[in-house]
């Protein structure tokens, strides 16, 4: 098994090098046979990567502790699902997963039905193969997943209990799919530039792949937040940890790209900017990996310190310099189509503001993340840049972003006249102001909250009007029923209405963030058995404290009955779990969710006589955060859903080459 497993890595590396060289040779000699051989090589690499994955799954599932990785991240009593998911708990395993996804995406592109006969394919494959070679080199010589120990231990070290949660099964997988996915737009952009192919074919294909990567990146962050909320026991979902920031930055720049690409499609402008955004997004994924694996910054997510980060930094440097070289060498070609605007106020201008804010937010996150290093380098003093900094800096930028998002749909392309502005915005603006006044009257008096909710109301109204006016226009001509008309309107403009669904999802998330950040209340109380804790409308009766054993873990739990306004609404069982092979216990929170608020109870401490200490929190509007997240998924899927391809798949009209 040892030989087989290691062979999958080294044969994979050899095949990756072979495929890269043979495709490059095929391109330069215009020999289709060589290209086909390279493509066959990509399939063989997928077989190797799959075998490597299966080998590690097998070793983990069967607790083969003679392997270092299996010993480090599993133990024999671990449930089978967590034994398997330990594959991405450590450095080398997670890099293997990354490699597997990268190879999978490469095969999907190389053998894509839509890309058949397309001369960009060999170039895209070669660029992705360059990435694959790097990852196989890392797996083969730096972070080896299949290392044998000198002495076989009887038991493994076990999996960090924080990772033993359903959220942790999906979170890393989706995040990696997002990270790896951003390599595809990068490869498309580079291939297009090398081919001097500056028509909009590549950008349409790239946009599609970017939405997919963006969706996975969003999902990764959402699952991560959800996991933090239920597992860490601090009642929050986003801590602005360097590693969280590392996944948020490419998300922001990819979002900027998805918007500015529309200007390129419509007006053939911003080509250099769009390619720069793609390069930046890709570079930021590598930068994130550098942060996680180098240990230069303190993070709860970080893998054990290793020199792996350095390799990623070098690779990132090579990729960015290479990309900038290609970009500069095609500068005159791209510059040729520099465009023009009809007016200061138009949808185009609003997209530029949108890009400014999104990239500005990404810069703010980047700056805050690296500032400890800057401070240490400049004055030799370490500083911590945590939540208060990011909340203060990001809140105004992201709120402005929400405002642009609210206003943009009603701005016309080309030019918005005063008449047009008045017609579109008077009623929504009045309604938003009325809503804000109503909030103040009803007791919401924190300035940020009122402004934030006001902007969200404006967003809902403008987006509703978009749907309403579209349906009205259709019905005027076709006499269709309302729902049919809405359905047809949306399915004929998937991207646009999918985008609006995503906007509404973002608004829901913003509602959850503003509500939970501004109006949460909490208390920490020590109570005797039979006593109760009161907080706002809630009364929580503490009825029982007991202990149970699950496998090698001891669980202390409290049984509590919850009343709201005197009416029983349910019971909860907050737990503290003590792991047999881990020093730190973890909290399983007691949670009762509703659309209005979450009741969140943590068992903090207890004494022998049954007296216990609880942290009780009321987090308003958290559920909207999850509803919004769900809508983002729906909206993104709706936008990329193929149907009959009529909206999505463009025809290739670029330069012709002999090989494809």
């Amino acid at each position: 098994m040892y030989l087989f497993a290691n062979a999958t890595i080294y044969v994979g590396l050899a095949l990756a090098i072979y495929s890269l060289l043979i495709i490059t040779l095929g391109i330069s000699t215009k020999n289709q046979k060589l290209i086909n051989s390279g493509k066959g090589g990509v399939i063989a690499i997928l077989v190797c990567a799959s075998m490597a994955m299966l080998s590690l799954f097998y070793l983990l599932a069967t607790s083969q502790f003679q392997y270092e990785y299996v010993t480090d991240y599993t133990s024999s009593e671990l449930p089978i699902i967590y034994k398997l998911t330990a594959l991405w708990a450590g450095n080398s395993g997670s890099l293997l997963l990354w490699t597997f996804f990268l190879v999978l995406y490469t095969v999907m592109i190389a053998f894509s039905r839509k890309m058949r006969g397309n001369p960009m394919v060999p170039y895209i494959s070669a660029i992705l193969l360059g990435n694959i070679v790097f990852f196989f080199l890392i797996l083969g010589f730096v972070a080896k997943p299949f290392v044998l120990l000198d002495q076989v231990p009887i038991e493994g070290h076990g999996l960090n209990p924080m990772l033993q949660n359903p959220g942790m099964i999906i979170h890393p997988v989706t995040l990696y799919l997002g990270y790896v996915g951003l390599a595809i737009p990068f490869a498309f952009a580079m291939a297009a530039l090398i081919l001097k192919n500056v028509d909009d074919f590549w950008i349409k294909m790239t946009r599609r792949w970017t939405i997919i990567a963006w969706l996975f990146l969003s999902l990764g962050n959402i699952f991560g937040g959800q996991w933090a909320y239920v597992e860490l026991g601090w009642g929050g979902y986003w801590a602005w940890d360097p590693v969280e920031n590392a996944s948020f930055m490419p998300w922001l720049t990819a979002t900027a790209f998805l918007h500015s690409v529309m200007i390129q499609e419509r007006k053939n402008m911003l080509k250099i900017w769009n390619i720069s955004l793609i390069i930046t997004s890709y570079a930021l994924t590598l930068f994130g990996t550098f942060l996680v694996r180098s240990g230069v910054l303190t993070s709860v997510h970080a893998f054990a310190n290793s020199n792996l980060g350095l390799y990623f930094l070098i690779f990132m440097g090579v990729a960015v310099i290479g990309a900038l070289y290609v970009l500069m060498s095609r500068y005159s070609l791209l510059k040729r189509s520099a465009g023009e605007f009809n007016s200061y106020i138009s949808k185009e201008s609003s997209f530029l503001i949108n890009n400014l804010l999104l990239v500005g937010a990404a810069f703010g996150v980047f700056w805050g993340t690296v500032f400890p290093l800057v401070s240490e380098a400049v004055r030799g003093t370490k500083v911590t840049v945590g939540m208060p900094f990011f909340n203060t800096v990001q809140a105004p930028i992201l709120l402005s972003m929400m405002f642009v998002m609210a206003v943009c749909p009603l701005l016309a392309w080309q030019r918005s006249s005063l008449k047009n502005l008045k017609k579109n915005f008077l009623i929504p603006a009045i309604l938003a102001v009325v809503a804000m006044a109503l909030m103040v009257v009803l007791g919401i008096q924190k300035a940020w909250a009122v402004i934030g909710f006001g902007v969200i109301v404006l967003l809902f109204i403008t987006h509703f009007l978009e749907f309403y006016r579209g349906v009205k226009a259709r019905r005027k001509m076709t006499n269709e029923k309302v729902y049919l008309s809405l359905y047809r309107l949306m399915t004929k403009n998937r991207r646009r209405y999918g985008g609006y669904i995503v906007h509404i999802g973002i608004a829901f998330i913003a509602m959850g963030i503003i509500g939970s950040q501004n109006y949460d209340v909490q208390t920490m109380k020590t109570v005797n058995l039979g006593d109760s804790i009161e907080l706002k409308d809630y009364r929580i009766n503490y009825e029982r404290l007991d202990q149970k054993r699950e496998g090698i873990n001891d669980i202390v739990y409290a049984e509590m009955t919850v009343f709201k306004n005197g009416k029983r609404i349910g019971s909860i069982m907050p737990e503290k779990v003590f792991y047999g092979n881990w020093d730190q216990p973890s909290s399983e929170v007691g949670l009762i969710s509703s659309l209005k608020e979450d009741l969140y109870v943590v068992l903090s401490d207890w004494e022998d006589d049954g007296k216990a200490t609880f942290i009780v929190k009321i987090n308003p509007m958290i559920t909207w955060l999850w509803i919004g997240s769900f809508m983002i998924v729906i909206g993104s899927l709706f936008a990329v859903w193929n149907g009959k391809y009529q909206n999505i798949t463009p025809r290739y009209t670029g330069v012709r080459k002999e090989v494809s």
Partner: protein, 167 residues
């Protein structure tokens, strides 16, 4: 007389001391807003990545003592700034959850907005350049400029309607 005053003072001191003991004995709510305002300024160094307000005393011994010290200082009447100064003097700026808003650390706060404003000004000039370029080329008729996407929508609906009739 003097003796009576001494006894009186002693009595007052005794009553006062008792009240202090009572205040300290009363359970302190570590999740109160006033405690949050003070404790959330300080980063826990146990590796949890949380501040001393959030860090769980059950899993971190470091925060237990830290929380008690903060409460003691609050009981002494120290305000948020004084407590902050006290800890920064001992541990340096690193103990804070966010950089100071003075000296070099101010750069951390200001830089994102400076960059944003500069980029905003640059975008304004770019848009101005593009608009001027357009103006010098051709005047767009007013009726075309008012055209919006709903009209596009109507048009596409009409085309579809016609298509259904004839195809």
């Amino acid at each position: 007389m003097k003796r009576k005053i001494y006894i009186g003072l002693l009595l007052i001191a005794f009553i006062f001391q008792a009240s202090i003991i009572q205040v300290q004995a009363k359970e302190f709510d570590y999740k109160s807003k006033e405690f949050e305002a003070v404790a959330s300024q300080f980063m826990c160094t146990c590796g949890c990545g949380q501040d001393h307000f959030e860090c769980d005393p059950k899993t971190c011994n470091l925060t237990v003592g830290f929380k008690e010290d903060i409460v003691e200082m609050m009981n002494k009447g120290w305000n948020k700034e004084k407590i902050r100064e006290y800890y920064v003097n001992i541990y340096g700026e690193e103990i804070l959850t966010a950089p100071e808003k003075s000296g070099f650390s101010l750069v951390a706060w200001v830089m994102p907005f400076v960059v944003l404003i500069l980029a905003g000004v640059a975008i304004f000039f770019i848009i101005r350049k593009w608009v001027k370029k357009k103006e010098t080329e051709v005047q767009t008729p007013d009726n075309e400029s008012d055209k919006d996407e709903v009209e596009d929508e109507i048009l596409s609906s009409m085309i579809e309607e016609e298509r259904k009739k004839y195809l």
